[in-house]
């Protein structure tokens, strides 16, 4: 009887599968993540080599502020113009000084810090330096986005490989996450953000992230931009732990001789205050 029930359950499950299950594969339809097989691990060797540490081409980030600005809506453009003016006047708007994650897509757009990219079966993981919370999980196991993902700073990302290019689709980003063109100029996406990225090697040690950013509350049309990263292989440049809030403290010894972090004074813009 138990065997009959088991067979029936299997038949019902098969009937529920899509007519072209090869599109997603049985693993993608499973509610659980099956353990990776030896072949899954071996298949990773077919992917391009993205090992090492990748640091951004910051000068190109700045250049694109003029050569390739986002197609801001008139309302957004007015705010951006005010921020630009404040920046030029030496009063940079403090948009990233609270140590919350820069989130998507700003991490990719304006970071000054390095990242590394890890491949495991069904997953690509991006880890950023200098902010303890820079982490992107990109699911490449064929799953879809959840119907209603819990919003997060980096959103819900699914990816697939088109040849040597990783194509990533990201939704579910918190509306408070900035679409920034620098550390002082940008606006919250305000909802419905959608980012499609095509990441690929442009040269032996140069990685390009071609982004298409759809932000209907900010932009009149999708914005395309490319961000460039350089590979470092020297072990002395390995990613270091970077906790953003660490900069709000100094190492000190308390009255009991304990090693502690003592708060330091800093201004609204995040700069340590010089002694009077």
């Amino acid at each position: 009887m138990d065997r009959f029930r088991s067979l029936l359950a299997t038949l019902l499950l098969l009937a529920a599968l899509p007519s072209n299950p090869e599109d997603l594969g049985p693993k993608a339809k499973s509610a659980v993540r099956p353990p990776p097989t030896a072949k899954d691990w071996a298949d990773l060797a077919k992917l391009p080599d993205w090992s090492g540490v990748w640091n951004p081409k910051i000068s190109d980030q700045f250049a694109q502020m003029k050569t390739n600005p986002p197609p801001w809506t008139p309302k957004a453009l007015a705010q951006i113009a005010r921020m630009d003016a404040e920046e030029r006047a030496g009063r940079p708007p403090p948009i990233f000084v609270n140590c919350l994650p820069e989130g998507m897509p700003s991490w990719m757009l304006v970071t000054h810090n390095a990242m590394e990219i890890l491949f495991t079966p069904g997953r690509v993981t991006m880890l950023g330096e200098s902010d303890g919370n820079r982490l992107r999980r990109i699911y490449t196991d064929g799953r879809s986005h959840p119907d209603s993902p819990d919003p997060t700073y980096h959103g819900h990302s699914i990816g697939h490989w088109e040849g040597q290019t990783l194509v990533i689709d990201t939704v579910g980003v918190v509306p408070q996450a900035y679409l920034a063109v620098s550390e002082a100029v940008g606006l919250p996406n305000n909802g419905d953000l959608h980012v499609v990225e095509r990441i690929h090697l442009e040269g032996p040690d140069v990685l390009h992230d071609d982004l298409e950013i759809t932000a209907p509350r900010l932009l009149t049309r999708p914005w395309k931009t490319t961000r460039i990263f350089f590979r470092q292989r020297a072990r002395k440049f390995d990613i270091v732990e970077g906790v953003c809030l660490e900069g709000s403290f100094r190492q000190a010894v308390d009255a009991d001789g304990n090693s502690v972090y003592a708060p330091i004074r800093y201004d609204v813009g995040g700069n340590r205050l010089p002694p009077e």
């Binding site: 640091n55 081409k57 910051i58 000068s59 700045f62 920046e87 030029r88 006047a89 030496g90 009063r91 940079p92 708007p93 403090p94 990233f96 000084v97 140590c99 304006v110 000054h112 810090n113 390095a114 330096e129 200098s130 902010d131 620098s182 550390e183 002082a184 032996p204 040690d205 140069v206 350089f230 590979r231 470092q232 292989r233 020297a234 002395k236 440049f237 990613i239 270091v240 970077g242 906790v243 953003c244 660490e246 900069g247 403290f249 100094r250 190492q251 813009g269 995040g270 700069n271 340590r272 205050l273 010089p274 002694p275």
Partner: protein, 138 residues
């Protein structure tokens, strides 16, 4: 009697290089006057080798009997400085140095470090994040 000094603290936050560029991690450098470079000689009081910005405090001798002046310079992040040839022990408390920096626009004794030179060895270190924009740095 200690020599007097001016305290020099160089609080460095972003990078300079001619652009009003944001600093390493989370703030802009526009509060620093990129059109000016101040040069101060003194003794390193403290180095805060921390993310998102490293800070170097330098004491500048003031006049006789006066307390040294402390200057605070901010720099980019430890990871970026490593690719510019720094380590956490490149500049240490007690080192005699000359710092060159874009000063704070508000006149406080702080700025964005451009270059630091060790008096004893002549060794220099810069804070130019654009200088690391190549693959396979040594």
């Amino acid at each position: 009697m200690k020599p007097l000094g001016t305290r020099i603290i160089c609080l460095v936050a972003a990078l300079a290089g001619g652009l009003a560029v944001p600093a390493a991690a989370h703030h802009s450098a526009a509060m620093f006057d990129k059109d000016k470079v101040l040069k101060v000689a003194g003794k390193v009081k403290e180095v805060q080798w921390t993310n998102p910005h490293v800070a170097i405090y330098v004491e500048e001798a003031a006049g006789s009997g006066a307390a040294p002046l402390v200057w605070l310079c901010e720099l980019t992040s430890p990871g970026n400085l490593a690719r510019l040839g720094w380590s956490k022990s490149s500049i240490k408390a007690g080192d005699k140095v000359t710092i060159e920096f874009n000063p704070l626009r508000n006149g406080k004794r702080g700025g964005w470090l451009k270059k630091v030179t060790l008096a004893d060895s002549g060794q220099t270190y810069t804070n130019d994040i654009f200088a690391q924009e190549n693959p396979n740095l040594k």
